[in-house]
Every structure is written in structure tokens, then in C-alpha cells.
């Protein structure tokens, strides 16, 4: 999926394009509104909702604060149960491990459960280059894969496609008859993918949580494609970001109460998988091998920045996307990389580098809706402000050069004007006169601002003049 090069550096241009697609804006507004309503309904069932959020944040903070310890514990447990743990410093190392494994095991087809991390490392492209066919099995991801596009939402990847789009797509790529019936469309996917599941040699998944105490991978889903991808093929590879580790199995209850409600407005997802190593000798089915690939790829760098560290608390629920007034209108593709919405604005500049996504920390009005919606109480606006400061720091601290001189002069002039009531009133009169002249009878045109907003028309007389 991320064989498409990131376009995060041109967020504003992407956003403008997205806004021009009126139909997509409408679809997105409706879909996010439904998700928001669903979330409010689901959380109202838990009078202890805020206590859950506080607890979840504490657990994740504890996990991060002793991350090295918990990673080592997790690894030991997995290995005790016959699983293999591989460590990957970066995307390249992770790709190489998985592709080499696929080659060594003679893998021709790999079924994939939805994994943002696998898109982060560009796994599908690496598979294809090595002659392995990756098949996305989450219905939304499957649709997006057939269309040759990238997902536009981390929970509902095909949120931007109507049933008509999907029908046309299936007609074109699978040769199936057209239909407007959603159940029929899903039935087509079920039939086609059933074959792939049962014949695949490898299944690739992510994990929502990696429990250190027991070496358990916890993965939530609604369709059953994760049960299939991790249960049917003989090799299961779980690609897990190092920040997914949590200390104890008992902690999972708190997250299970928060994540489905936050992401899809459900009390709980249809299936919650608890995976502990490959099949045992006496079991009837299950993978013969389990490989957990622990991925750093910039996470330890984020961890090293105390002001940005809380970015790693994210449990990938998608709630922040649905409530964000920016995301609701521009959709996921505008953010240019794997992670959209407030989450993407927060972590894409940290993963790709601030210089490759300088507009993303500004893709926000800092309204704080995301912060209120986040089940682990990440203060996303605060992190965005920190990123903005980091971006502007060279400018802000510059004491030499033309713009520094001009700024000093402008501030001095403003101070001189404002320290005298006479000068202040005079400046006001001249400013209002100038604005009226430049308005040509209409609303004042201010560069940038007036492209999307009206600037208030200046009054004939100031309040001061009216009162004196």
C-alpha cells in the first residue's frame, strides 16, 4: 500500500483537491457522523468511562516507562511456547525478515489481516517483488487493494467508496454481475477470499496488544478474516510495533471496554483473538510456526522525545479521525501516508521527518475534539504544538538577517503607536480608512484569509469616537 510514495509534504494541496470532490466530502461527513453517534451511544453505557480512560493511560505509560523490561519478558514467553521472535530496527529489516522467511518456506500466497504496520513498512510491494502474492482479506482493505488505491481510514479503509463503486470494481476485476445489494457484494468477497485463506501458505497480521506476562497477542476484529489468516496457513507472522506491549493479561479488560466503543461504537467486536504461540502437538489445527516481528522503525526515537512520547500511547482505535473537523472534510488520502487524521498529523512528521511533512502539524485548528475522544487521553493538540515549535525554532530564535531586523522594527513601531492614546486613535482611523478603500465597496480582501473566510468590514466610526 505504501509503495505509493508519501505525499504528506503537500497536505494543503491534497486537502484542496479532496475538498473539490463534493461527493466524497458528503460520503465522509455522513460516515464520520455515524461513527461519532455510535461512539457516544456506546460510551454512555459505561458510567465509569472516564475512570477507564485514566486507567488505560496509566497502563500504557507504565508499559512505555519500562518498555525494555516488558519487551524482554514478552519475548521469553513467546519463545517458551515455541514461537520465534525477530527484532527489526527499521522497515527494511522487517521486510527482509518476512520476505526471506516466505522464500525459505516456499510461500506463494500470503493472506493479510488488516495491519497498518505492514503498510508502514511497505510489505506488499516487497512481497510482490519477491514473487509472493499478498492478498488483503479485510473487506475494506480487499476492495482498496483491488482498486489499486490506499486506504483512507484506519478502521473503515473503503469509507470513500459507495456500493456502486464497489459493484463496478468487482465487475471489472472479478467478472461478477453488477449488484447494488451490499450483502451480495460481501458474499462475493467471502467466496473469493475463502479459497485464498485455505490455500495460503502464510498469514500476516498485526496485533492490538502484546501481553508481556503471558506472551499473548490480542487482536480484535469483526469479520473473522483475522481468525482465518492466523489460523489456517501453516506460518503466521505477526508484525508488532514495540509500543504495543502491555504488562499483564488483566490489563486487556480495560482496553476491550474502550477500544471497540471508541472505534466502531460497539460494546465489543465480534471476535477477540488471544494467540499464544503455534499449534501444540495435540491440537487439530493452527499454524505450525509463529513469528513475531518486533518493529522499532522510529518508535524509540519518538520515545526519546519526552514532549512527543505520549504519541506512543495510541491504541489505533480511530476515534480521533471521526471527530476531527479537518479529517471529516478532507479524508485520509490528504494526509499522504499510512496514518490519517489527528493521529497522522501527530506521528507522520515524527516517522518521516518534520522536513517531509511540515504542513501536518498545522493540519489542525487545535480544537481539542481528538483529545476528548482519545481513550488513552493523548493530548494531541499539545504534541502538535510541540512539533510546530520544533519546526519554527530556527526562525524563532534567529537574531540576525532581514526578517529578524524587520520583525524587530515592526514590534518597535507597534510599541511606539500603542503607548500613546493619541497615536493609537490616529492609527486606528488611518487603518479603517485604508481598509475601506481597499475593499472597493465589498468585504476587505486579506491575502490568504479571504480565500476561505470573510474579513469583517470596518465601521465608519470607532467605539471610542462614538463615546467621546
Amino acid at each position: 500500500m505504501s509503495g505509493h510514495a508519501p505525499t504528506s509534504h503537500r497536505f494543503r494541496a491534497n486537502a484542496a483537491e479532496a475538498l473539490a470532490n463534493g461527493n466524497q466530502v458528503r460520503v465522509l461527513r455522513a460516515a464520520t457522523a455515524r461513527s461519532v453517534a455510535g461512539r457516544m451511544q456506546a460510551l454512555s453505557e459505561r458510567p465509569d468511562w472516564e475512570a477507564l480512560r485514566v486507567r488505560a493511560r496509566e497502563v500504557k505509560r507504565e508499559a512505555l516507562s519500562r518498555l525494555d523490561h516488558y519487551l524482554v519478558e514478552f519475548e521469553a514467553r513467546v519463545r517458551e511456547q515455541g514461537g520465534t521472535v525477530a527484532w527489526a530496527r527499521d522497515a527494511d529489516e522487517a521486510r527482509r525478515y518476512i520476505v526471506d522467511l516466505a522464500r525459505a518456506r516456499g510461500v506463494r500466497t500470503a493472506v493479510k489481516a488488516k495491519s497498518m504496520t505492514s503498510e508502514e513498512i511497505g510489505l506488499n510491494e516487497a512481497f510482490e517483488a519477491a514473487g509472493v502474492t499478498p492478498v488483503e482479506t479485510d473487506l475494506g482493505e480487499y476492495i482498496v487493494q483491488l482498486a489499486g488505491e490506499t486506504p483512507s481510514h484506519i478502521i473503515l479503509p473503503a469509507i470513500h467508496k459507495s456500493r456502486g463503486d464497489v459493484s463496478a470494481l468487482f465487475q471489472r476485476t472479478l467478472g461478477t454481475p453488477p449488484t447494488e445489494d451490499v450483502a451480495e457484494l460481501a458474499g462475493i468477497a467471502r467466496r473469493v477470499l475463502r479459497e485464498r485463506f485455505l490455500r495460503a501458505d502464510m498469514g500476516v497480521s498485526g496485533a492490538n496488544f502484546a501481553v508481556a506476562e503471558t506472551g499473548t497477542l490480542v487482536i480484535v476484529e469483526n469479520e473473522g478474516n483475522i481468525r482465518f489468516s492466523t489460523g489456517a496457513p501453516r506460518v503466521h507472522v505477526a508484525l508488532v510495533g514495540i509500543e504495543k506491549v502491555i504488562p499483564r493479561l488483566a490489563d486487556v479488560a480495560t482496553f476491550l471496554r474502550l477500544l471497540p466503543r471508541s472505534g466502531t461504537g460497539q460494546r465489543i467486536t465480534s471476535y477477540v483473538n488471544f494467540l499464544n504461540g503455534p499449534r501444540r502437538a495435540h491440537e487439530d489445527d493452527g499454524p505450525e510456526e509463529l513469528h513475531v516481528v518486533l518493529l522499532d522503525n522510529g518508535r524509540s526515537r519518538i520515545l526519546a522525545d519526552p514532549e512527543a512520547r505520549e504519541s506512543l500511547l495510541c491504541i489505533r482505535c480511530g476515534a480521533c479521525l471521526n471527530v476531527c473537523p479537518v479529517y471529516q472534510r478532507v479524508g485520509g488520502h490528504a494526509y499522504g501516508w499510512v496514518y490519517p487524521g489527528p493521529l497522522g498529523a501527530m506521528i507522520t512528521p515524527q516517522y518521516l521527518g518534520l522536513d517531509r511533512a511540515p504542513e501536518l502539524p498545522f493540519a489542525s485548528s487545535l480544537c481539542g475534539a481528538c483529545k476528548d475522544a482519545c481513550p488513552v487521553r493523548i493530548d494531541i493538540p499539545r504534541v502538535l504544538l510541540h512539533l510546530r515549535q520544533t519546526l519554527r525554532e530556527p526562525e524563532a530564535t534567529r537574531t540576525r538577517g532581514l526578517s529578524a531586523w524587520a520583525e524587530k522594527r515592526a514590534v518597535a513601531l507597534a510599541a511606539w503607536t500603542m503607548t500613546s492614546p493619541r497615536r493609537f486613535a490616529a492609527a486606528g482611523r488611518w487603518l479603517r480608512r485604508a481598509l475601506r478603500l481597499l475593499s472597493f465597496g465589498g468585504a476587505p480582501r486579506v491575502p490568504g484569509w479571504s480565500a476561505t473566510r470573510d474579513f469583517p468590514a470596518p465601521a465608519r466610526r470607532s467605539l471610542r469616537e462614538m463615546l467621546s
Partner: protein, 204 residues
């Protein structure tokens, strides 16, 4: 330095810097209201089970449960049974693991459960000998036989129970309702990869 050593070293070096002072403060102490245990756990469980679109059937014993299963409107094919002592008479019963190309012929799977969780209306299936991962997944209809003694109140209770199981066995799954997806226009459709129908036969 191996990748493992490098990652751990990077993590340790990163953690040498403390959290910002504002973060270190404990969060606000929101009240943790303990949900009162439901007066009628069976009724509460039933309500949650039906809320996710599963069907509820009540039975007094195994014999009655078997009769209920026999009477369900299933397809013609055989039924994959992983539960012992269920005297099914109407259908061809398959035990053990059928070959994969037989999966499409199966009409249903009939399993027991390790626990029923009242909080969410969920069924806990622990994998183990004779209780594979695929039996309750590949079929169009899943029938789960639950006994009253198997009900536990909350997810916390379930996690305590599954903890001893994970290790000797390779895993477990919590099943709540049929398989579903809302990926196309957020219209809920069932049976996308897993079963379209879930029936709970409750033996009281």
C-alpha cells in the same frame, strides 16, 4: 550489535529522559462505579446475546439441546460437532478435523464453550485437542451449547480463567454474535468471513 541489542539499547537510552513534569502527575481520580452484579445473570446474558443478532434457545438438558439442534433449519450437509454427549439424530455428524475441501459442504458446527461472559454476551472458546480454531469459523451456522455454570460476570473473570489455559494451549477466541462488516457504506452485513448465524442453546 544485533538488531535486538540495538533496539533495547535505543529504548533504554530514550527512557533515560524522564516524562515531562505535567505528564508525571497522576490523572484525575474519576469514580470507578462498580456495576451491580445483575440480579438475573441469565436474563442479562440473553439480552446481550440477542442484541448482537445471535439466536437464543433454552433447554433443560443435553437431550433437549440435541432436539433443538436437530430442529434448526440448516442446510443439507453434515454437522461438525466438537461437543461430547450430544445425541443428535437427524444429521450426519463429523468429529475430528474434516479435510479442507469438505469445509464448503458443512451445514453447521456445534461446539461447547469454556465460558459465557455476561458483561458482553460473549462466548469464550478455548482451543485444544478436539476443539480446533477452524470448526466454528468456516461454517455458515455456529451453534454454541452453554450451561448456566459456565457463566461468568465480567471480562476480568474471563481473563483470569483464560490465563491458565494460554500456555498449554495455543489460544482462545471471544465470540460475540455472527461475523460482521460495515466496510461498504457502513451498512452492516453478516457472515463476511465467519458464520452468518450464531445460535446459543442455553442449558439451565
Amino acid at each position: 550489535m544485533s538488531a535486538r541489542e540495538q533496539v533495547l539499547a535505543d529504548v533504554r537510552a530514550a527512557l533515560a529522559r524522564p516524562w515531562p513534569a505535567a505528564h508525571a502527575a497522576p490523572g484525575p481520580a474519576w469514580p470507578v462505579t462498580r456495576e451491580a452484579a445483575p440480579e438475573d445473570p441469565v436474563a442479562a446474558f440473553r439480552a446481550k446475546v440477542e442484541a448482537v443478532g445471535a439466536s437464543w434457545h433454552a433447554a433443560r438438558d443435553r437431550a433437549e439441546a440435541a432436539a433443538i439442534v436437530d430442529a434448526l433449519p440448516l442446510g443439507d450437509g453434515p454437522v461438525w460437532v466438537t461437543l461430547d454427549d450430544l445425541p443428535l439424530t437427524r444429521r450426519t455428524v463429523l468429529r475430528g478435523a474434516p479435510p479442507r475441501d469438505a469445509f464448503d459442504t458443512l451445514a453447521a458446527a456445534v461446539t461447547g464453550v469454556a465460558a459465557g461472559i455476561v458483561e458482553t454476551g460473549s462466548l469464550a472458546l478455548f482451543y485444544g485437542p478436539g476443539r480446533g480454531r477452524l470448526s466454528s469459523l468456516v461454517v455458515p451456522v455456529h451453534v454454541a451449547v452453554v450451561e448456566r455454570a459456565q457463566l461468568v460476570p465480567t471480562l476480568d473473570d474471563f481473563l483470569l480463567r483464560v490465563r491458565g489455559h494460554l500456555g498449554p494451549q495455543s489460544g482462545a477466541v471471544l465470540v460475540t454474535g455472527p461475523s460482521r462488516s460495515a466496510d461498504i457504506e457502513q451498512v452492516i452485513t453478516v457472515g463476511v468471513h465467519g458464520p452468518k448465524e450464531l445460535h446459543v442453546v442455553f442449558i439451565d
